[in-house]
């Protein structure tokens, strides 16, 4: 299998890769021993994940890469029964559990696991080509990689560096997430992509350190993006381009917005398909966002119901959250948890908020919230926040019970289940 195929993906082979405190290039990364194909490579650090990707790019072997913590024993069994050898990578050492099912490999196939926010993670088939959605020539940049290896967002950053010259990477390990701005400033990171939760946490912890990172491109994705976080980033980085991306393993990167506003223009809905461009077709059915995307995963052609809820505000379409959790029915009046959250997040002293339904007598459900305050902006009480919301929301949308948390919760996917 070795040497069978050298992908054009390796245009970026001499790009700088900073990982584990070492400055390398894709070419000088440590090499994994010859991998079986198909292989599920489970990693505990970014270096091993990049080494697995380069192995795939050179040899074309069928690959799933994920952090070992995301793949429990039951899922490892399932992978073995689906023909994957399970490889636990650890630098130059690795252990291999052979596949339980022998099958022909799908050359060039890359598998992603969905985040599991809607249940057990699913396997979605892609290729390096379908994952490479940034194709136009980019100006030289050094990208931060805070995402968990193997997620769609992680692949988005990785493929830019693999397929284009002058696109360096600075990989942030989970243990470095709290201090990433110092590492990024040291290595001259100019572009960074993260979830809104990731950006909020960073601003909450140390906005001074963040402001020292010479960012020219800031990208948000993976969760609903509210106006407050876009505005905070614009204030810190007035010269940077701030973009938000709607992407998922299923439909790929489908909506890219650069105008600094939450949501996307209503005019983007129901446009005629244009095969020449790689523009997805966006539509809304009921409250649900529906996307037909050229960047879809294998077997997911055509219109895909995203399960994400939208709401029209002026000339924008806001993505407010998951359909099954976003709508809160308060005594027959319906309110979007995402919109209530946006109102809370717009309060100057609120660093993070989660809005949810709480079972209550008479009205069935009430709006409740958990909030993390910015300690620099003075004492704020739950009554202050209730008053803030009362002035901006219908009475049934006002969170009546607000609990304060000391820190912003964050999962391995950099999301916080809002």
């Amino acid at each position: 299998m070795s040497g069978r195929r050298r992908s054009t993906a390796l245009i970026g082979d001499d790009n700088t890769v900073v990982v584990g405190g070492k400055t390398l290039t894709w070419r000088t990364l440590h090499k994994l021993p010859q991998l079986p194909s198909p292989a599920a490579v489970l990693v505990d650090n970014g270096a091993d994940a990049l080494a697995a990707v380069r192995h795939h790019a050179v040899h074309g072997t069928e690959l799933l890469v994920a952090t070992s913590s995301r793949v429990d024993l039951a899922m490892r069994e399932e992978l073995g029964e689906s023909g994957f050898a399970v490889v636990l990578a650890n630098g130059d050492e690795h252990s291999v559990t052979p596949a339980k099912l022998k099958r022909v490999e799908e050359s060039g196939r890359v598998w992603l696991l969905t985040s599991g926010s809607t249940g057990r993670p699913k396997r979605i088939g892609h290729t390096l080509e379908s994952l490479t959605t940034v194709r136009g020539k980019q100006q030289p940049r050094t990208w931060l990689v805070p995402y968990s290896p193997g997620t769609y967002a992680w692949w988005q950053v990785i493929t830019i560096s693999l397929t284009q010259a002058d696109q360096g990477l600075v990989v942030i390990e989970p243990s470095e997430l709290e201090t990433w701005p110092a590492i990024a400033a040291e290595h001259g990171v100019t572009a960074a992509s993260g979830t809104p939760t990731f950006w909020r946490q960073t601003i909450f912890r140390d906005s001074e350190a963040l402001a020292k990172v010479p960012l020219e491109q800031i990208t948000l994705g993976g969760e609903p993006v509210d106006q407050a976080i876009l505005d905070q980033l614009a204030e810190l980085f007035p010269q940077a381009r701030i973009s938000w991306i709607y992407a998922s393993s299923e439909v790929g990167a489908s909506i890219v917005v650069h105008d600094g506003k939450a949501g996307f223009p209503k005019a983007w809905l129901d446009r005629d398909p244009d095969p020449a461009s790689e523009r997805p077709v966006l539509s809304v059915d009921g409250d649900e966002l529906v996307i037909a995307s050229p960047h879809h995963g294998a077997g997911l052609e055509g219109a895909h119901r995203t399960g994400d809820r939208v709401e029209f505000v002026g000339d924008r379409v806001l993505i407010t959250g998951r359909l099954d959790t976003d709508e809160i029915n308060v005594g027959g009046s319906k309110v979007s948890a995402g919109l209530v959250r946006n109102v809370l997040m717009a309060h100057p002293a609120v660093a993070w908020a989660r809005v949810f339904a709480r079972k209550a007598p008479l009205v069935g459900r009430m709006v409740a919230a958990e909030v993390v305050l910015n300690p620099d902006l003075g004492p704020v009480t739950d009554a202050d926040l209730v008053q803030w919301c009362t002035n901006r929301l219908p009475d049934y949308g006002v969170p009546r019970r607000i609990r304060f948390l000391a820190e912003i919760p964050q999962k391995e996917t950099l999301k916080s289940d809002v």
Partner: protein, 83 residues
Amino acid sequence: MSELTRAQIRDLMGEVMKAQGKELPSDDSADLREIGFRSLDFSELALRVEDEIGDELNFDAPGLRQIAKVGDVLDFIEQLQSA
């Protein structure tokens, strides 16, 4: 956590009213509609009580009743706690 006393429930009811910019009269016979204590406020009071006692109130247990005055609310919540 133990049950709340009637006075403690009254204090929580006062907090609910205060958050709405209103004041709870001291008279238990005050009419809820007149003082602006609505179903959302009643629901919030129930949640506050649940948070205090660390347990869910069982609303299925007591039979139907009319809750028209401040005293009715206090009676009802007291009864729910022991349901």
